[in-house]
């Protein structure tokens, strides 16, 4: 349950993961997407914008196609809440090299920090265990996370890591009044962001 008052900064969590970035395919979404890409983007990064909840099974598909390539999913609590069934789908498929990191800040950051439902009374780690993940652990301080991370990366998956994080306050303000520009994603229209990057990832994995 998320009753702890201790929280991890998203930047610190990203830094810990970025230092261990190698040849993994990384699927990121929502508020973690931009800082992750600024810190650790390679030609194996996939982005999820405009379809909340899709990151985890998107990553599962890559892992089932390429079992030898590790896949990390950098998910959000609000996103995972929209597709809780994905825990069952992943638990059932049992991808071995699959790390599912859930940034649990307790709010819908981009829409103005409204609370995620049942905040304080639920645990994604417990749900993942019940859905068939091999291991699922929750951390609310960066030191414990860092100490455990290398072992978790060596554990046969699927593994879920629930990080109790600070809200980023990174809410989406919408287009400038009088304009019809879509939500920008690294300066590109959001609609084309995924279409731009996935062929690059496919090519880095050996083509289709």
């Amino acid at each position: 349950m998320t009753t702890s008052t201790s929280r991890i900064s998203v930047d610190n969590a990203i830094e810990a993961l970025a230092r261990r970035r190698d040849d993994q395919v990384v699927v990121s979404t929502m508020t973690v997407m931009r800082p992750w890409r600024e810190r650790a983007e390679t030609d194996r990064d996939l982005v999820c914008v405009g379809f909340m909840g899709g990151a985890s099974t998107f990553g599962l598909g890559v892992q089932l196609a390429k079992p030898e390539v590790p896949v990390w999913v950098l998910d959000g609590d609000g996103s995972l809440a929209m597709q809780l069934g994905s825990l069952l789908t992943i638990g059932n498929a049992a991808p071995r090299r699959f790390l599912h990191v859930v940034m649990h800040n307790g709010v819908y950051d981009t829409s103005g920090a409204q609370p995620v439902l049942a905040e304080g009374n639920m645990s994604f780690a417990e749900m993942a265990k019940g859905a068939g993940y091999v291991d699922a652990v929750r951390f609310d301080d960066i030191e414990s996370f860092e100490l455990a991370l290398d072992d978790l990366l060596e554990t046969d998956g699927p593994v879920l890591v629930e990080l109790i994080t600070e809200p980023t306050g990174d809410s989406y303000q919408g287009p400038e009044p009088g304009t019809s520009k879509p939500l920008p994603e690294d300066g590109r229209p959001v609609a084309s962001a995924l279409a731009d990057v996935w062929p690059r990832v496919r090519d880095s994995l050996g083509g289709g």
Partner: protein, 169 residues
């Protein structure tokens, strides 16, 4: 009036083999259950079950990134359930993704859009709204549409849909 002919599941399976399908990502569909049974026993094409149709779309996209050639097998109710993932991943993401959608409860003597029930009647208009090319399989002679759907998905870099208008047997 003659009886509507079922589509032999083995013919659909062979059409998928011929076009090189590697995986069927599915939320079970009553209309296509004989095909699901065959797929479950098939060593060549992998059957992957998802809890929701949204997940099936995202999972299939990941398979495509990894170089596989999946088909998404769902029911008409599942089409309505996964509209945003169909739009946002398959459509905007420009994935050559083929959907096989069972029209459970369809009266085979009427065009789907003239069906009394909204579950069947709205499938084609919805696909048209989403700009997803569609192919209606009305009997055994339509199985060749499987190859057409894949060819068109790859040519347009986007989704296409096979509507299974009668039972598979």
């Amino acid at each position: 009036m003659t009886m509507a002919e079922s589509i032999p599941a083995i013919d659909l399976l062979q059409a998928m083999r011929d076009v090189g399908v590697t995986d069927v990502v599915a939320v079970p569909d009553t209309h296509q259950r004989s095909l699901i049974t065959l797929l479950d026993q098939d060593d060549g094409i992998r059957f992957i079950q998802a809890a929701t149709e949204d997940e099936a779309v995202a999972l299939a996209a990941g398979l495509i990134v990894g170089g596989r050639k999946p088909i998404v097998q769902i029911q008409h109710a599942g089409l309505y359930a996964c509209v945003n993932h169909l739009r946002g991943i398959a459509g905007d993401g420009r994935f050559p993704m083929v959907f096989m959608i069972g029209l459970l409860g369809r009266d085979p003597y009427r065009a789907p859009s003239e069906h009394a029930g909204s579950m069947v009647a709205l499938a084609e208009p919805l696909l048209d709204t989403l700009k997803v090319p569609r192919f209606l399989l009305d009997g055994p002679s339509d199985v060749g549409m499987v190859a057409e759907a894949f060819a068109q998905a790859e040519a347009r870099e986007g989704p296409t849909a096979l509507l299974i208008g009668v039972n598979t047997a």
